[in-house]
Symmetry: C2
Subunit: 313 residues, 2 copies
């Protein structure tokens, strides 16, 4: 992050109805779906192949346009699974493409399951497995979003896998949707809310994962739309990198996220999807140019804020 002077995460959350113009025209190249791992498109292509290729092409154009201003991409796995048969290949190809552009890769799958199932998800999202006939590669993500409902033993296999590749996990702590009130905000008999208890759980889980930077390899996801929760979350998880989705289209503002940087400049990862990919709709520029400008605007604004916070703390 210091090298790139950026805390911006490019959200890859491709909406099939809003692909950039030209994305559907890339069909035919062998390397469209999974450029770094040889996933050729079958010669006879139907709607499923064409859709997969269009999404891969759109996302690669987005990465090309904005990589310089960003430090990571976040793949919303739902948008790749809905591509059907080629969904995982597209996601894996994009993860490799982003890595080649110097970006970290966040797999936003919000997975949560127990023992062998959690381990299988974790391997799928990181370094893959050694199968009975040889290696089966994984997505190659550095950071995984995980769902803590099932408790500590449902999170540990994800952390173990992420640590094998030098990465970490981001625990859902307090999300940005209205439904967060239904479970996350419930008050506990012992005091505090469910989400505050989850924050403590994340902090404990990451205790032994604090590196030289002072940050842990167990971070948290906090919706950027409710900055009042941020200061409290920082108190409960002093070493956690905080992934802050919801800036832009969902109403979150960078200027309100200062508390994240009380743990240092790398304490906050600011994720934006639609505000970057659809910037051309309000600016009238070409999509790539508008996306680059918006990513750079976010980068500057977050970097300046983190400089301020770190100078005064």
């Amino acid at each position: 992050m210091a090298e790139r002077e950026s805390q911006i995460v490019l959200g890859l959350d491709p909406d099939l109805l809003s692909l950039w113009p030209g994305s559907g025209e890339a069909l035919g190249s062998q390397h469209d779906i999974e450029p770094f791992q040889g996933g050729a498109v079958p010669v006879e292509t139907g709607p499923e192949e064409r859709t997969a290729v269009a999404v891969a092409s759109h996302c690669r154009a987005l990465i090309d346009a904005t990589a310089e201003a960003c430090v990571a991409v976040k793949l919303q796995l739902a948008r790749f699974e809905v591509l059907g048969r080629h969904g995982l290949a597209v996601a894996r190809g994009l993860a490799a493409y982003a890595r080649a552009a110097g970006l970290l890769v966040i797999a936003d799958g919000k997975r949560g399951d127990i023992d062998v199932s959690a381990a299988a998800y974790a391997a799928a999202l990181t370094d893959g497995i050694e199968g009975p006939f040889g290696p089966v590669p994984g997505l190659g993500a550095d950071l995984l979003t995980v769902n803590p409902l099932m408790g500590r033993d449902a999170l540990e296999p994800f952390l173990a896998a992420a640590r094998r590749s030098g990465g970490g996990v981001l625990v859902l702590v307090r999300t940005s949707n209205p439904g967060a009130a239904d479970v996350e905000d419930l008050e506990l008999a012992a005091g505090g809310s469910v989400w505050e208890r989850i924050a403590r759980l994340a902090d404990e889980l990451g205790e032994r994962g604090v590196g030289e930077s002072g940050l842990s390899d167990v971070g948290a996801v906090l919706g950027a739309t409710r900055p009042e929760h941020l200061a409290r979350a920082r108190e409960l998880m002093p070493a956690a990198p905080l992934l802050l989705p919801g800036v832009g289209a969902q109403g979150g503002r960078v200027q309100e996220l200062g508390a994240a940087f009380a743990a240092g400049r790398a304490g906050g990862l600011i994720s934006a999807s639609r505000s970057i990919s659809e910037a051309h709709r309000s600016s009238g520029e070409a999509p790539a140019r508008a996306a680059r400008a918006e990513a750079e605007r976010l980068r500057e604004s977050a970097w300046a804020l983190s400089s301020e916070v770190c100078a005064t703390s």
Copy 2:
């Protein structure tokens, strides 16, 4: 369920180290990965293709052996995602194969996310989408396991998609792992535990989904290893079909699950994976024969129990 006199769900949870003998030998047939949707295996096959074919072949043999004794299959999605590039095709092929054998399909993905992301996951697991170049098929599942941490608005898109195809959702309420104590069992200031609150949420969500059978299209997942929770869950969710994993290998016993059937014979779905697929390890019979015998033993025992409960209630 009445027609098949069965409440047994065959868990498809393939462990790469415990595939049935012969599963790796099916390579070469065009129809191995996705028999009903034309997903041909590429001519040049590496470890990733061979592993995918072996898993598909193992699971088809399991379905062939046990379908008569079962009412549904449950695909543990983690085990298919870890197959890499062909994982979703294998899962989709098996869902179609199970359906052709007269079985319902449960997608056990424990997904939870908000608005457009939840809708994308839900479409991926049910009827697919109409893409820009034509239809992209989904997994075709009837029932989806969902994670309620993010609240009601994170569940509704799953329910909406499942209802479109006449299916429903199964909300994680109280899981069978030790970590369930970390969040699910926390006591609330307003009384009761987090999981009891989630049970109420599931009951409310399913209020308008109660059909002629008296059962709702919003069910719940409850670990079969803690039968003491079952009676309470039935009180809180009188119309919910309960999916009960954990019988056999995890220590749950059919005889202790009677409370599920207080809502009728279809009130409990008893899921077993390893106890069926690995029955040959203790019996010494051929895998298919041992699996069939174990599935039939579970079917008889659950059906008899439900007859007793329904006669006395």
